[in-house]
Subunit: 217 residues, 4 copies
């Protein structure tokens, strides 16, 4: 699946900052980034492009995107905004999972799903699981396997999630995402389009699991 | 968060009447202002711009917006429409909360939320609460605090809500909004973009609280 | 409220056929006219413009709209399509209610609402009821009144609904709409914009009544 | 209904590849093809145009569409993508049902509907059933008839569904669609617009059946 997605998005050679602006507006319209919530990052070379903190995700401009330089370990670039409070979490994910793109949203269904499960969200036997790769490199999930996503505790300050997020990434090497209780979801991909596809597939599963609970099935 | 939002909405120097037209159409499309319901106001200097009464919120034009002059205590301007029936409530909110923008909608989830609670809507332990400022000036809500919104009784005539709305504003100095039972929600902000963000964050919480009730969590 | 809505829709002097095309596409996008379902009519002078039968409501053109001439009691005009199977029902509503526009949709919530009630859908104590006029000329509903909409039995052939629809119009002179069990809703207005507003207000009430039932309130 | 729909879509003489691109984007926006899920095919003469595998359905281009030649039994054309894993299923449906268009989606309601029924999804007494033709040539469903759709077991590999799908097509000659348990729905039509209408009508019925179950009606 991977190279196909890449190939479909060809041509444009878009600037990562422009992609972040475009996708955040799309995610706002999907209800996943309401009220300034959420954020995303794209790594290109030694630069990590990160959406700014506390701004309306539907009204950003490319020059608002903050840029973190991996070599100097500092924010560079000319954005007048603070980087997303998720920045340290995005950097950890880029590093530990080798991801080149991270997406964090407060999707309603992700939040509700964390209320229905204990330490891990679990689902199995749904065709759409096939769109999601296991992060241990063993291929995508089969429809009859079980997908497990760790649910970590929320903290008063987003930065303070780093320790437990990193711990969960190590403890669940296969997991394609981390849920934060009553907060939202972090996911990622080897490129931004894969990250987008994985977020869509996960949200679809969160929606189904919430509706299945209501139906008692 | 505040100044960031301001900054994101730069440049345009839009006329308050144009902003009201644009946002009401957006709120109509979100299902928050169906069938002529709802309204909003923006204060600029001694003028309060107020959406007109009983018109389709998706089909207004800037010249339809009514203008109230604080100095003369009269409606001025050339709109051929009556001001919103919420006008006295908006004026009270501008005055008591020091708000420069008010939004009133009949969002389904706000109405349903009023059916699930007694005198105050309450929610806690949801990350998205952080987007909402406490109106006593003590900063935004933390994710682990409790957000309380007074629910006042509906009245046959919207103007007659003024007394109980004012009373609730004084009784709950922290409250970022007032719910009206089986009617809708009033919220506000120090500028129109903050008011929009706060309405989005509140509606997200109303949706969650309704779904949590259905799920029994 | 009435003249205001008229006034908001000024200028354009649109052809009724163009309005029908535009609004049916909008209603399709709202999910109210899926899969060729539903239809609408506008009376102008001795002509009743009626959407065609069994066509995709999102892909019509003005020349597809059928025209019924009240003087000759015949369809005139150049549409190559059959008129909506609702045509006799629309004509009855134009005649009995004096309406100049009728809207018929299969909105999901209207269908579900008919499953929750016996001979009449009833709701009270919801602010948005104020957008809906009583058809006996006694003004709009107050928020604390009770809105009653007769639910008639569905029939195998839509034309065969005429007798019971006419009966219900006479038996419930106040009623602003007729529901058809497990089928949908017919509503109308003194002009097309009022009919649109009334359909929106009713659908909002149907949605609320379904959700209230799920919540047990 | 049939020829009307054809007639509404006149003029454009669109290339099947362009129609597939346009409709897949529309189905993505409806939530029916999230995260690269689903696909569709159109038969024109000896060519079957089939959407590619594993690509974002909202970002395809006409040149990405794969083309299967019925005469040579081979894929021809210049797409750099693999054909949809549903290709053998689409070809079986084209052949057995004489359909000229097939649509396969993972719509949430289709998946949930398969969880509520045993070997066949059943619904009756809903007006919108009239939009759906029986595949034995005996006309469209009446509102008071019963619509039955077989539900086949899901398999780890989509291609392996062919045997049970073909079996179900033969066993239920009237059935306008095949559901796959916890996977999605396959439907079709004598042209692509009819297939689209039928999918919309079916999804509406799936949504209703899920909501009826929640309401206990």
């Amino acid at each position: 699946m991977g190279s196909d997605i890449n190939a479909v998005f060809r041509a444009e050679q878009m600037d990562p900052a422009k992609i972040i602006v475009e996708l955040c507006e799309e995610f706002y319209n999907s209800g996943w980034m309401p009220a300034t919530a959420g954020g995303m990052s794209i790594r290109e070379g030694a630069s990590i492009y990160i959406s700014p903190s506390g701004v309306q995700k539907e009204r950003m401009r490319p020059e608002d995107i903050t840029i973190f330089d991996i070599n100097t370990n500092q924010f560079v670039g000319e954005s007048t905004f603070k980087p997303s409070a998720s920045a340290p979490l995005f950097r950890a994910i880029h590093s530990i999972r080798g991801a080149n793109a991270c997406i964090h949203t407060h999707s309603e269904s992700s939040v509700l799903a964390t209320m229905l499960f204990g330490n891990t969200f679990e689902i199995s036997n749904i065709e759409n699981m096939k769109a999601i790769p296991k992060c241990d490199g063993s291929g995508n999930y089969g429809a009859f396997e079980t997908l497990r996503i760790p649910i970590i505790k929320n903290k008063p300050h987003e930065e303070d999630l780093e320790y437990s997020l990193v711990e969960a990434l190590h403890k669940y090497p296969e997991a394609p995402a981390i849920l934060v209780r009553r907060h939202g979801v972090f996911t990622w991909g080897s490129n931004v389009w894969k990250a987008k596809v994985i977020h869509e597939a996960l949200d679809y599963l969160f929606v189904l699991s919430v509706k299945m609970r209501k139906l008692g099935v």
